[in-house]
């Protein structure tokens, strides 16, 4: 067990890295979700120009690896004169990237609601914004919850890429520890276990939501 001493000694450091990972993921997930809902609504209800723009955006973003986008933004942002702290730049890129996937999940949720729900809401004299707010979105988001949680799991793991552009989080912390201790296997087993625990907890929550969706409310 002596072999695991480097891991045990550096574990608190790794946990602080994990804290940063969770903070970054959560900070990115919130605007990603909001933007995802907006893009979904634009795609379902927007006029032709809006719909085409959204579709072009989705195609573009989903066709490029996140790592390429992060690196690109890393070089591009300073040139545009936008003075964004690296943390926020990275959060912005991850949010824009995941919004594209989330919007598809939300759109599927909206479209899978039966026409009858719209008819009932319209028949009661609801305007479209009101229908969306109290009838359509509450149901669509519930339907979308399980795949949405999968995307959040993927988002958490994707934050490991930001160490490439020099941001400190769990993966970066692990690499630092490896440089000091020269114990890559032990340290990365520890880092992997931490990632797994975060993602497994999220996935369990997703399963719980799925059961709630399947068995009514």
């Amino acid at each position: 067990m002596n072999n695991f001493n480097p891991l045990i000694h550096s574990f608190p450091y790794l946990l602080r890295g994990a804290g940063m990972t969770v903070l970054m993921a959560a900070t990115a997930a919130i605007p990603a979700t909001v933007l995802g809902v907006v893009l979904a609504l634009l795609q379902v209800f927007g006029n032709r120009i809006l719909r085409a723009s959204v579709i072009a955006y989705l195609l573009l973003v989903r066709g490029i690896p996140l790592l390429v986008l992060l690196t690109f933004a890393y070089y591009l942002l300073p040139l545009t004169g936008i003075d964004l702290p690296p943390f926020w730049g990275v959060v912005l890129v991850i949010a824009c990237y995941y919004a594209a996937f989330m919007s598809e999940v939300f759109r599927a949720g909206i479209l899978s609601l039966p026409q009858a729900q719209w008819d009932a809401a319209r028949g009661l004299g609801m305007t479209r914004p009101l229908m969306l707010k109290i009838v359509i979105l509450p149901q669509a988001l519930r339907l979308a919850a399980p795949p949405y949680v999968s995307l959040c799991v993927s988002l958490v793991k994707a934050t490991s890429l930001v160490s490439i552009v020099g941001l400190w989080e769990l993966t970066m912390a692990s690499r630092e520890v490896v440089e000091r201790t020269l114990a890559p296997f032990q340290v990365f087993i520890g880092a992997g276990a931490i990632y797994f625990c975060i993602c497994y907890a999220l996935a369990l929550y997703g399963r719980h939501l799925e059961r709630r969706v399947l068995h009514g409310h």
Binding site: A116, Q117, D119, A120, A121, R122, G123, L124, G125, M126, T127, R128, L130, I134, V135, P138, Q139, R142, G216, H217
Partner: protein, 277 residues
């Protein structure tokens, strides 16, 4: 009746004396789905408190007619008014002008509609299903709306279900909640589209009873149904529609027992053969 439609076409708001003004007036409505014409120049006028039952073969346009009344379905020609107020289209001279979405929504709030498949909101409790629109559409205070919702639930015999979600109710119970939900908006007219067709036979009676009670209370109703004995009981007038046109209309006993046209006779014969009445 011919002068009435030209009357209505000259002004947006009907100013005839109340007693003579129909609660629902459908004038010259035509509707196509693509190349198939589903309603051909349909005109129908329903007096306040009158119960009109619409019968006809499947695919004849009954559902489409009801859906046109509250503009769930758009139509190419004609106009419809409820209590003198246009729903969807106004006439200005010979011009037909579509109302704004906001005005259309407001107009729809005056029409109650009950669907074959109930269409309750599954994520809301029964009480919220009924009180949501009065609060959010009409701006009623929540307490008032919920008190009224409980009254309506009592009326349809479901006082103990206020806190349930629709999925926990039987079809007959869900349909009675749907009726209460429509009534909560204090509609001027109620539309029923085969509201018992999706129900197990033993649950039909409770829904028909609720409608019967409503009719006795003086509600103006347009009812599409295949329940002929119910139609006979509840209808002031039966309208037979086939191929998107009104073929025949009259008192229930005239239509059901002494139809003037072969199409109605053939329809009733098919119906009686099937149900052996």
């Amino acid at each position: 009746m011919a002068d009435i439609s030209s009357d209505a076409s000259s002004t947006a708001i009907d100013v005839r004396p109340l007693a003579r003004r129909p609660m629902l007036e459908i004038s010259g409505v035509s509707k196509s789905f693509g190349a198939t014409q589903v309603l051909c120049d349909v005109s129908l006028s329903v007096a306040p408190g009158e119960v009109v039952v619409v019968i006809g073969p499947s695919g004849s346009g009954k559902t489409t007619l009801l859906r046109c009344i509250n503009l769930l379905e758009d139509y190419e020609e004609g106009t419809i008014t409820v209590d003198g107020a246009p729903i969807g289209y106004r006439r200005r001279g010979s011009e037909r002008i579509r109302m704004s979405e906001r005005d259309i929504a407001a107009a729809r709030a005056t029409i109650g509609m009950v669907f074959q498949s109930f269409n309750l909101f599954p994520h809301m409790t029964v009480l919220r299903n009924i009180a949501a629109a009065p609060v959010r559409v009409k701006g009623a205070p929540r307490e008032t709306a919920e008190a009224r919702a409980r009254e309506l639930l009592a009326m349809v015999g479901l006082s103990d279900k206020a806190a349930e979600h629709p999925a926990r109710l039987s079809g007959g119970q869900q349909q009675r909640v749907a009726i209460a939900r429509a009534l909560a908006m204090d509609p001027k007219i109620m539309l029923f589209d085969e509201v018992t067709s999706a129900l197990d036979p033993e649950l039909v009676g409770e829904v028909l009873a609720a409608m019967q009670q409503l009719a006795q209370g003086g509600m103006t109703m347009v009812v599409v149904t295949h329940e002929m004995s119910f139609a006979r009981d509840i209808a002031d007038r039966i309208v037979f529609i086939d191929g998107g046109v009104i073929v025949e209309q009259g008192k229930p006993d005239e239509i059901l027992f002494a139809p003037r046209t072969n199409r109605v006779r053939a329809f009733l014969k098919r119906y009686n053969d099937r149900y052996r009445i």
